[in-house]
């Protein structure tokens, strides 16, 4: 019984769906209608024909809630497969971010030095600004943004997490 009263945990859930109109509304509506959290959600077609999309949802809840989320997702008619990557073993999570930093003089030098340390690439530059592109786990991007804030962080655009299990086994 204890697992049902467990403390909330984060879960990264991969969902393979028919790429049909309204599917995203169905998934999002399920979360809002039943009061579940969405920390991030990404979606794009992933097969060669464009018929299957993969949705990656980062959510959190007690074990009972996470089980419900998975069961509720799985019973949507256009859903092919639901996989709890967090539960099923080691997996990789990546996020892409575009980060605009505005500044002059020493701040620019410091920004570039930090970007180098974080392996962020400069994808746009003016005399007063940079746009950095970086990929990584969410906490790495958080850390980079925190460092950039005093230097002149102007704008951040993030994709939200995508994730995949380690090892040879595929989801499809």
């Amino acid at each position: 019984m204890s697992e049902f009263d467990s403390a909330p945990r984060a879960a990264t859930i991969a969902v393979l769906v028919e790429n049909e109109p309204g599917i995203l509304a169905r998934v999002v509506g399920l979360f809002s209608g039943r009061g579940y959290n969405i920390d991030s959600l990404t979606v794009a077609p992933v097969d060669e024909t464009g018929r299957i999309s993969r949705i990656t949802i980062v959510t959190s809840g007690t074990e009972m809630v996470i089980e419900q989320i998975k069961a509720q997702l799985d019973r949507l008619v256009p859903v092919h497969k639901v996989s709890d990557l967090t539960l099923e073993g080691p997996h990789l999570t990546r996020e892409l971010a575009l980060i605009k930093v505005v500044g002059t003089g020493d701040d620019r030098v410091e920004a570039l030095r930090l970007a180098d340390a974080f392996r962020a690439r400069v994808v746009d530059a003016t005399t007063t600004s940079f746009v950095f592109e970086m990929t990584g786990a969410g906490d790495k991007i958080d850390a980079f943004c925190a460092l950039m804030r005093p230097i002149g962080l102007a704008e951040v655009s993030r994709t939200g997490a995508v994730a995949i299990a380690r090892g040879p086994r595929g989801l499809i």
Partner: protein
């Protein structure tokens, strides 16, 4: 589902309009009756209906009633109910019925008209975002934007509506799609691409269940609407299993009829207004077998006090129902009939002996609870007790021996019907359990009568609920449907009044049924017979007169105004904190604010 299908013939592809394709697909999916209401956007379908005889159209008086009628039709036959409404208000009026069917797992396919594709999103006349509005109101929905998809979508809708846990499906049909020529394709033989509900239970889970059940000392079988949805064979298997094991059996509101009410192993309905013996057996049991029920809040009472010492087995076709409210030891995903068949086989195979002595002791305990006779009432004086009215209705229909179907509205009368009308067979009882929709009963009875023209179809109603879809008296007249409306008239929204009395200090805010119509005249104005009974001495005669009349009847039975529905588990209380009757109403005073927030 679509990949393998090709047009049946090139000729058909050229000659049929979209509307004709829709009708052909309905026919090929076994539709004989469609409940609907015309309007601009669906005129092409009405044109196609005009030109054929295979499908009968029943013209209702309001779209909500069309869905409830289709629900009654579906629940009494096991088939998919079919509805046709126009765009905009036609679709929005149908929404209550759709949610009702969703919560009670009733298979419905509802066709809605839509403005032509080039006007979608334009705020056109009678345009509504029907797929948007009905997304959380249905099991699934479709907007058909290409003629080539039409036949496939209709076939798929029927598959989705009836397979797995049944539910309502909406197909939104833009008018140009209905008018343009479209190819007809047969229903595909291949599996659906993504939707394949599990019906066969896992053998290992069955083995675990049997291991628990064999050693149970205080077992109970708790069966719900899933058994009815699994077809009459599932109900037979349920009876076999219960008889084979000697276990007590209780039914949920939706499950009434799944196990014969007369059977000595039946302990009655459970839950908020269930019997004392059913609820205490649930509370005290050591092994609970839930088949096709969902631990609804009306059943469990306070969750942390629900059956605290039992190991629970839960068989459900919908995995999301399992471990939703109540954690269980043995989850079984599968169709109720298949699960019961597997349990019966495994019970026979398992060599372990049952603890018969413990079971005898358990039954002795249950019989003590039965001895309380929680449904007793005293009919005396010049006022008809509502319980007595239902009981006499049951006894008289039983004595007449006619095939009888009962629907209800929602409220006290619904609970009295559930308590005092005994159902021996499945599919004879239509009630709005999940959504609790007042106005359900009359159109549902109408749908049942269409499916069973010679049967006795009675809507046990309250005077407030019946007014919510009273316009359907016109439909009864038009199609000469001899539905009987049996109103327990206490001049109150009785259940609201009861809660106000017990929980809100007797402040009867807006719950009095003022300015009621004269139901006899109302019946007569709709070409039906009206009967009013006020004296207990006239009750039997009134019931017999109602049943004997060949056409529709409203029987307005004046009953005690202040009668409350007991037994009752007050909100936020546990099964063993039931209130048995008025003498214990003080027990409700202990309801906490936490309990009061519960509906």
């Amino acid at each position: 589902m679509s990949a393998a299908t090709k047009p049946a013939s090139t000729e058909a592809a050229l000659t049929m309009s979209g509307a004709e394709v829709v009708l052909r697909a309905l026919k090929d999916n076994g539709v004989e009756v469609i409940f609907g209401y015309p309007g601009g956007a669906v005129l092409p379908i009405y044109d196609a209906i005009f030109n054929q005889n295979a499908i009968r159209h029943i013209l209702v008086r309001h779209e909500q009633a069309a869905v409830h009628a289709a629900e009654g039709y579906a629940r009494s036959t096991g088939k998919v109910g079919c509805v046709l409404v126009t765009s905009g208000p036609g679709a929005t009026n149908a929404v209550t019925g759709l949610v009702d069917a969703l919560l009670d797992s009733i298979p419905i396919v509802c066709l809605t008209g839509q403005v032509p594709t080039h006007l979608i999103g334009n705020d056109a006349f009678q345009e509504a975002d029907t797929t948007g509005i009905t997304r959380p109101a249905t099991k699934h929905n479709y907007l058909v934007k290409k003629s080539a998809d039409l036949a496939r979508v209709v076939h798929e809708a029927f598959y989705v509506a009836k397979s797995g846990r049944p539910g309502p499906v909406v197909i939104d049909l833009p008018k140009d799609i209905l008018i343009n020529k479209a190819p007809y394709t047969e229903a595909p033989k291949t599996e659906h691409r993504s939707y394949r509900p599990q019906t066969e239970p896992d053998a290992e889970q069955i083995r675990k269940a049997i291991a628990l059940l064999k050693h149970a000392k205080k077992p109970i079988v708790y069966a719900g609407g899933g058994v009815i949805n699994a077809g009459p064979e599932a109900s037979r298997l349920l009876a076999d299993f219960v008889h084979m094991t000697g276990f007590p059996c209780t039914n949920t509101l939706m499950g009434l009829g799944a196990f014969p009410a007369d059977d000595k192993q039946f302990v009655g309905m459970l839950g908020m207004h269930g019997t004392y013996e059913a609820n205490l057996a649930m509370h005290d049991c050591d092994v609970m077998l839930n088949i096709g029920a969902r631990f609804d809040d009306r059943v469990t009472g306070r969750l942390n006090a629900f059956s605290p010492n039992s190991k629970k087995i839960h068989a459900d076709i919908d995995p999301s129902s399992i471990n939703k409210n109540v954690p269980v030891e043995v989850p079984i995903v599968g169709d109720a009939g298949r699960v019961l068949a597997a349990l019966i086989a495994a019970w026979k195979e398992d060599g372990a002996a049952q603890d018969k002595a413990a079971l005898t002791t358990w039954w002795r305990r249950i019989d003590e609870w039965r001895g309380i006779d929680c449904l007793r009432y005293r009919q005396e004086g010049k006022i008809i007790k509502p319980q007595h009215a239902v009981k006499r209705l049951y006894e008289i229909t039983r004595e007449l021996g006619r095939e009888t179907f009962i629907s209800t509205e929602v409220g006290q009368h619904q609970m009295w019907a559930a308590q005092y009308f005994g159902f021996q067979k499945p599919n004879r009882w239509m009630t709005s359990g999940g959504l609790g929709t007042m106005g359900y009963g009359l159109p549902a009875a109408m749908g049942v009568q269409i499916a069973h023209p010679d049967a006795l179809c009675i809507d046990i109603a309250g005077e407030a609920s019946i007014l919510m879809n009273i316009q359907e008296m016109g439909t009864l007249a038009q199609y000469r449907l001899p539905v009987k409306v049996f109103i327990l008239n206490n001049e109150y929204m009785g259940m609201v009044r009861q809660w106000q009395e017990l929980l809100h200090g007797g402040r009867y805010s807006e719950s009095y049924s003022a300015a009621l119509p004269d139901f006899v005249k109302l019946a007569e104005s709709f070409h039906a017979k009206g009967i009013r009974v006020t004296d207990p001495a006239d009750l039997d005669a009134g019931i017999r007169e109602m049943i004997a009349h060949p056409g529709p009847v409203i029987a307005d039975i004046a009953v005690a105004k202040d009668e409350n529905c007991f037994p009752m588990i007050p909100s936020g209380a546990a099964h063993n904190e039931m209130i048995l009757g008025p003498d214990q109403e003080g027990g409700v005073a202990g309801v906490t604010d936490e309990g009061k927030v519960l509906v």
